[in-house]
Subunit: 219 residues, 2 copies
DNA sequence: CCTTTTGCGTACCGTACGGTACGGTTCTGC
DNA sequence: GCAGAACCGTACCGTACGGTACGCAAAAGG
């Protein structure tokens, strides 16, 4: 879904280039590397222009989040008749995409930035990040499991709870670990398989083979 | 397990009081509120003493993590014969404790601090936080599910994978959301129940009633 | 062709930080 | 009771940040 040009200001190509440099600096050196002087130098623009375009530093950070979110568009692939195998495939694709997004350099850097700013009373940046970065992926997953339920392939009372279960099975504590600087998984696909298998065991309507779950061998 | 006095320096009462003030400042105002001058003022000590005791700012942060970890000791309650109900109770208690710890002000503030410092190449603080803060709780859970397996109440091939499943079911994306400034759960106990019920459905050897899972109603 | 706007580069300002130095005071060991 | 260490309060230093001001080049527009 394309953002409405009215409520969500898009930026000029020049400004987008500057925001791209800002993201690069942030990814490479963390928050302390993202200074107005440094950005002006890296992007070949003046500090005055930065303040004219983005207001202040927080405005710049918000613009960076909006810019990054505008790049990650998720396609709504709906309509086709769901089978059990198809549902599993789509769930695994979602899981792999989710893991890949969360492990991305820019995603990690922006999350670190927003978390570093946050306090007990909440954070403007945190809200922005959750809304812009998460809504897309949440919608995709919710649409998928809702479709699965309508097709009689999934059963649950609360779609939100079911989605959170799926999310937890996929991500576990991996996101926080990566935010803290640990390396990601060696094999996202395997983790995706295991998570979806578990999810289908919990909320699927058909018997699961469970061989990927590692519980069939008995020992 | 008490830390060995040789490799892990404990601090004097005076230093612990200073570290306590440092944690208070960090919790109340985030990283930017934790300045050497501010801490010296709040703790009625001199900046010179701070540098003498902790070396530099990073040393202070590390000391804060060690200090906080030394307060959260988990008791190893082992030995008793496990039944299915007892296992479920212990798992739910673990889940509630985990949620409570993660939602704690000090835990959130320290995680925000370490994450804010982290870069792509990793973070000294992040490593410290994972080792000190996580090892305790990990050991407790691993011991518990291992005991459950030996008692024939749980089945899994990989204890680590099973634990990560349990962790994901309990926490989902709640930790990151709280780190970003969102409020916690209204009812940790209910979440703990649901997570443990799911976990037992996946890895338990007995049929689960599943009424708390919200999948029995059929609709 | 001339004017107006836009934006670059640089210099500048106030502030606040991490870290150090020093004089005076309290605590400690003998 | 006294010498020495530990420590407090404060002043100080260099630096680097966010944000502003200005001079000048280049593009836009009529």
């Amino acid at each position: 879904m394309r953002a409405d040009a009215t409520d969500m200001p898009e930026f000029s190509p020049r400004q987008n280039a500057v925001l791209e440099q800002a993201l690069r600096l942030l990814v490479e050196g963390g928050e302390k590397a993202l200074t107005t002087s440094g950005l002006a130098r890296a992007a070949n623009c003046s500090k005055e222009s930065l303040y004219k375009w983005f207001g202040d530093r927080e405005g710049l950070l918000a613009a960076m989040i909006a810019h990054q979110a505008s790049k990650v568009r998720t396609f709504e692939r709906s309509g086709e008749r769901l089978t059990a195998d198809l549902l599993r495939d789509h769930l695994e694709l979602f899981a792999r995409d989710l893991l890949e997004v969360l492990a991305g350099d820019v995603s990690l850097a922006l999350n670190r930035l927003a978390i570093g700013q946050a306090t007990r009373e909440g954070s403007k940046l945190g809200k922005l990040l959750l809304e812009h970065g998460r809504r897309q992926i949440d919608r995709r997953a919710m649409a998928l499991i809702d479709q699965g339920k309508r097709a009689g392939l999934l059963r649950f009372d609360n779609a939100d709870a079911a989605y959170h279960t799926l999310y937890g099975l996929i991500v576990s504590d991996l996101h926080v670990r990566m935010l803290l600087g640990e390396p990601g998984l060696k094999d996202n696909a395997r983790q995706a398989e295991r998570a979806v298998a578990s999810f289908l065991t919990l909320h699927g309507t058909q018997k699961q083979s469970a061989d990927v779950l590692g519980v069939s061998a008995g020992r």
